[in-house]
């Protein structure tokens, strides 16, 4: 695997002020609360976690769709927050996003051609070049060229996601954040899209940040995987290592909770007690301690450091 850094995230935080009304108590949701990780060139880094863990917020922060509260994001060695608005819009061609919901991510009143062309128009490409690029992109994602004048509602979910992928590829980005790109699709279609994403990466060599809640899909597609819980990264390692040798008790529980489509599979299930705490009032210390089967007294007080335990295997837990 390449070891050249593409995206470097340091102490990234995003806090949302959700106090409503003027006189209510201030209420802050710490959606992302101190992330440190690196995405290397050419790899696929998977991010998994349950709802409210901050994985989508992380993707949006990297895409500069949200302003961070604290920390730095370096892209290709440059601090993204140092870019002016104009500079940012110019640089956006290098990092693009594939969205979860192929029904909501395409403007219903634009035809396929306009949708795919839009980033090229924004980047100032001329018309002839754009038309040719659309033809190539449609071919790349497997949409027949004579569908280019159609509207999104004439396509199925899988085909719409292909259009969304073509749009993300339009400017030949280096980095693609895929936020739950197959979650809204049926199983048989999911596999088509996953294969497409893998093929495109092989052909064009870009880097993925693959955000999903489906652990088996993430394991399949990722080189490395990070596990998030309540705005924090609790574990990160090479994909196979993580799935075979999970160190954090949350990762262990999460992996064992996934129903396996195999009747001979032995479920040695770690059933977690309780629910995910609300991120506007996270527990003190390690956020996982109220549900953790091995929590000790000090887990309630101090947040464990995110440390390298084995080579390339990071975990944030006192008891490991």
């Amino acid at each position: 695997m390449a070891t050249e850094e593409l995206v470097k995230v340091k102490n990234l935080r995003k806090h949302f002020d959700v106090s409503n009304g003027l006189f209510r108590k201030k209420s802050i949701v710490k959606a992302v609360d101190g992330l440190d990780f690196t995405v290397y060139k050419g790899e696929t880094l998977g991010i998994v976690g349950e709802s409210g863990c901050g994985k989508s917020t992380t993707g949006r922060l990297l895409m500069q769709l949200l302003d961070k509260t604290e920390g730095t994001i370096e892209f290709d060695g440059e601090d993204m927050s140092a870019w002016s608005k104009k500079e940012l819009n110019k640089r956006r061609k290098d990092f693009q996003m594939i969205f979860q919901d192929p029904y909501a991510s395409l403007n219903p009143r634009m035809i396929v051609e306009e949708i795919i062309e839009e980033p090229m128009v924004a980047a100032g490409m001329d018309k002839q070049e754009r038309k040719e690029r659309v033809t190539k992109l449609l071919d790349d994602v497997g949409i027949p060229d004579d569908y280019r004048k159609r509207y999104p509602h004439e396509f199925s979910g899988g085909q719409r996601q292909r259009i969304g992928i073509a749009r993300a590829l339009a400017l030949k980005p280096k980095f693609i954040v895929a936020d739950e790109p197959v979650a809204a699709l049926d199983v048989s279609i999911q596999a088509q899209i996953i294969n497409l994403l893998v093929d495109l990466q092989e052909e064009y060599g870009f880097t993925y940040l693959f955000i999903a809640h489906d652990l088996s899909v993430v394991q399949y597609i990722s080189d490395r995987v990070g596990v998030m819980y309540l705005g924090k990264m609790v574990e990160m390692s090479e994909s196979d290592e993580l799935y075979e040798n999970p160190l954090h008790p949350y990762t262990q529980a999460l992996l064992s909770s996934v129903p396996v489509p195999d009747v001979h599979h032995n479920t040695d299930r770690v059933l977690l007690e309780g629910e995910i705490p609300s991120p506007d009032n996270p527990p003190s210390g390690c956020p996982f301690h109220p549900r953790c089967p091995i929590a000790k007294e000090h887990c309630k007080e101090t947040m464990p450091e995110f440390r390298e335990r084995n080579k390339g295997h990071y975990v944030a837990c006192h008891e490991v």
Binding site: L65, R92, D101, V121, H153, L171
Partner: protein
């Protein structure tokens, strides 16, 4: 478009509303051809004549043919409707769009402003504006236009807010599309449906408001064939010549009813379409 028409067609009352609207438009355009008499022509010998074969809806105190005046009145009503609703639509949409898209203090200021306008009773507000501008048909249309601006601003703001959080807006942003372009290409076209519906509904209100203001003597000059003025004058003769007030009254009711049911039908026809698109 076909889908909308298909849905709309199923609603018989809305279809009736559409038919009546088309009829009013034809009346307005072809008034000189359809009207049996000149609406301004007075005839002392025929004054206060009841409905008869010669004058289907009778005549007023000056002997003017009521039917002809009602037919010509559609011109004023439609003109007032189109222009004043046009003013509200453009102003309101602009305010709503800017408020919702930029949010924060821009939204605060614009929303409070529209709230203040909104809190006045319609007619009272129109009266105040007319009092400032002075009575004339143009000022009347401006006044009505301003009065109905807050409704459009609110609807536009709501629609924009919901569309602003759509994924395709995020997608456009992530591609580096400028704010202005996002507003014009993505947000505005997708917010039009509720606004179109409001246009038909406000059209009815505008006609009513013109009638009311003219009735109060703040609209067009008294000899103009306007439904409101006819109604206003007719009230003085209610006991001796009921037809002077009743027929314009029926015309107003019919027009308002038609626009309303058409708006309702349009709303229902547009709604499932939007649902289909998002699910």
């Amino acid at each position: 478009m076909n889908e909308i028409w298909y849905q709309f067609k199923k609603n018989k009352i809305a279809l009736f509303g559409l038919g009546m609207t088309v009829m009013f438009i034809i009346f307005a355009i072809l008034a000189p051809l359809i009207a049996p008499y000149d609406p301004y022509e007075m005839s002392t010998s025929d004054s206060l004549a009841g409905p008869s074969l010669a004058h289907l809806m009778g005549t007023d105190q000056f002997g003017r043919d009521i039917l002809s005046r009602i037919i010509y009145g559609t011109r004023i009503s439609l003109q007032v409707g189109i222009i004043s609703v046009g003013i509200s639509l453009v102003l309101g949409t602009l305010i709503g769009l800017v408020a919702a898209y930029y949010g924060r203090w821009v939204d605060m200021v614009l929303s409070r402003f529209t709230d203040v306008l909104f809190s006045f009773p319609d007619i009272l507000l129109a009266l105040v504006i007319m009092a400032i501008l002075g009575p004339s048909l143009t000022n009347l249309m401006i006044a009505i236009g301003i009065v109905y601006t807050p409704i459009f601003a609110r609807i536009a703001r709501g629609a924009v807010l919901s569309i602003k959080s759509s994924l395709y807006i995020d997608a456009a942003k992530s591609m580096g599309v400028s704010n202005r372009k996002i507003m014009w290409k993505h947000i505005l076209p997708n917010s039009m449906a509720p606004l179109i519906v409001q246009v038909t509904l406000s059209f009815a209100f505008a006609i009513l408001a013109e009638a009311a203001l003219s009735f109060l003597g703040l609209g067009v000059s008294p000899d103009t064939p306007s439904w409101g003025i006819m109604l206003s004058e007719g009230k003085n003769w209610m006991e001796t010549a009921w037809w002077i007030a009743v027929f314009p009254g029926i015309a107003i009711t019919l027009a308002v009813f038609s626009f309303n049911v058409m708006g309702d039908g349009l709303r229902d026809a547009l709604d499932p379409k939007l649902k289909n698109e998002s699910s």
